[in-house]
């Protein structure tokens, strides 16, 4: 491990008062940032500085700060979640940057993810896709069948888990040159398609979720594969292929 040191950086950050106003990139200088800090801790530091100068701090989404809630969402130096793979922005550390660097920070850019303020975007489109079919229609009762009554091959269970690991952060949409949400939708469709519990309503699910996805104004997948690279959870393109298969099956039914 390289010992932590302090660096000085320049920041170019998208500032936008609210959804209806026009935004612009603003420049900030921030000194004495520990390389052991996380990227968001660096932003905390910037905000503390801005508050002390009685200026408006930068709004950005974040919550768990351990890479699982999917709330953080920054486009850093041209990459979703910044210059590292397999992580969310909150897991990005300042040791990835050098003294004197200029860092660009922008919000996710997508018609379906309108900017709310500064770096905060509205990702409720994902919720609506999930509401359209991302579930198994089973009511709560104490009498659902025993958990072990339907064996699930380990391979399928593992694949379903890998698909289900999606945190819904939207990096796939942000990084896709087409603003496509197919990795997100493909992962959800796959999770259920792989499990016997989900197969029952697979047809309706894939048709409804894809319909909703299209209505939300996401772009179309052109298989560039950028989403898979930038996905903090490494969700595979296989899931999009599986969704394509499921959709074909459902369409032919």
């Amino acid at each position: 491990m390289s010992a932590a040191k302090n660096i000085n950086i320049n920041l170019k950050i998208w500032r936008q008062k609210n959804a209806s106003s026009k935004g612009s990139m603003e420049t900030y200088k921030l000194d004495n940032v520990s390389t052991a800090s996380s990227f968001l801790e660096m932003l905390d530091q910037l905000n503390e500085q801005l508050i002390n100068e009685k200026k408006e701090p930068v709004a950005f989404d974040h919550d768990c700060r351990e890479g699982i809630c999917g709330m953080c969402s920054l486009y850093i130096n041209g990459r979703a979640h910044g210059p590292d793979t397999g992580i969310t922005t909150c897991q990005l550390h300042m040791r990835m940057f050098n003294d004197g660097d200029t860092i660009y920070i922008e919000p996710w850019r997508s018609k379906a993810f309108p900017v709310i303020k500064d770096l905060v975007v509205d990702r409720s489109a994902f919720d609506r896709i999930q509401q359209a079919g991302g579930f198994v229609s089973v009511n709560t009762s104490g009498n659902t069948i025993d958990a072990n009554s339907i064996p699930v091959p380990k391979v399928d269970a593992d694949k379903a888990f890998e698909a289900a690991a999606c945190i819904g952060c939207g990096a796939c949409v942000a990084t896709c040159k087409n603003g496509s949400a197919m990795l997100f939708v493909g992962a959800k469709v796959s999770q259920y398609a792989l499990l016997p519990q989900g197969k029952v309503e697979a047809t309706q699910r894939v048709l409804n979720m894809v319909r909703q996805m299209d209505e939300e104004g996401f772009g179309n997948c052109t298989n560039t594969g950028a989403c898979e690279i930038e996905c903090p959870k490494g969700i595979s393109l296989e899931n999009i292929a599986r969704m394509n298969r499921e959709y074909l099956k459902a369409s032919l039914k």
Partner: protein, 293 residues
């Protein structure tokens, strides 16, 4: 599924792109096989092949499928691109392309280049072949037995007469037909129909069928003193675009159709080999023709 979804749904659009794209890959393979005769075959072989390709009903059908595929692939692609642009109304100030390949990000540009190429290609060859009154026919120079030369049109297998005499200038002139009419007391009143056929107007009988000389057209095109070099370079550049387009497109089509499994690495390998070999071979031909003495 609702009918409109056949066109509207994002995923169905992908199916269409994939299916038409893969069909066009097949077309490319066939086309290449034919074109290679420009290097490895005689001009006669090539022209016979050209004749077959323009007259065989099955090929005709396939060609219509090909035209439709090209048009559909292009229109669908344009629609996708427009929608995709709309999906990101405000772009990024800074982007880093490291997470996807150049080819995959520029399919629309590459496709447009290829479409333009196809259009010029068809004007230069296909249209001339089909509609140009001046399309040359296959000729042969023979010894007239008197130390001089005589030019004949070569007849096809189906032709009644294996060849057709031309006049001194190498043309089927009206005077020549008049002469034959006079010689045969009006039995043979010949005229040219459909560019290649010579028909006896009196009986409706086709007395001669010639070949269009596509070989000559092609060679002349690339050897043109003024523009041949540019045509050759243009052709090579178009093939480069095609190579990039295929580099991403081939495997992508399988992904779109839902094939992503243990065969994917093999498909990827094959796709990339196809993307290199096919355009390369295509491109070698005009270069070969241009440089050939």
């Amino acid at each position: 599924m609702a009918k409109s979804a056949l066109l509207k749904s994002s995923i169905v659009k992908k199916y269409w792109m994939a299916l038409t794209g893969l069909f066009l890959c097949l077309f490319l393979a066939g086309h290449l096989a034919g074109n290679l005769q420009l290097i490895f075959g005689t001009s006669q072989q090539f022209n016979e092949y050209a004749l077959f390709m323009t007259t065989n009903p099955a090929v005709k059908l396939l060609s219509y499928v090909t035209y439709i595929s090209i048009i559909f692939h292009a229109i669908d692609g344009i629609m996708l691109t427009i929608q995709n642009k709309k999906a990101r109304p405000i772009g990024y100030a800074k982007t880093d392309g490291s997470s996807s390949s150049l080819a995959s990000r520029n399919m629309a540009v590459l496709g447009t280049v290829i479409l333009v190429f196809i259009a010029t290609h068809m004007v230069n060859f296909w249209a001339k072949m089909h509609f140009d009154k001046n399309m040359p026919l296959v000729q042969k120079e023979i010894d007239n037995g008197m130390g001089g030369k005589q030019i004949q049109l070569v007849g096809t297998k189906d032709s009644q007469m294996p060849f057709m005499q031309l006049d001194q200038t190498g043309k089927l002139s009206k005077e020549f037909f008049e002469m034959i009419k006079a010689q045969t007391q009006g039995q043979y009143d010949l005229e040219v129909q459909d560019m290649t056929k010579i028909v006896n107007k009196k009986t409706g009988e086709v007395v001669f069928i010639g070949y269009k000389d596509l070989h000559k057209l092609t060679v002349d095109f690339f050897k043109d003193a003024k523009y041949g070099l540019y045509f050759t370079i243009g052709y090579v550049l178009a093939m480069l675009a095609l190579a990039f387009h295929l580099w991403h497109g081939f495997q992508s089509a399988f992904q779109s159709l839902g094939v992503n499994n243990k065969f994917t690495p093999a498909i990827k390998f094959f796709g990339r080999a196809f993307a290199i070999i096919v355009p390369l071979l295509f491109a070698i031909i005009p270069v070969f023709l241009h440089l050939k003495k």
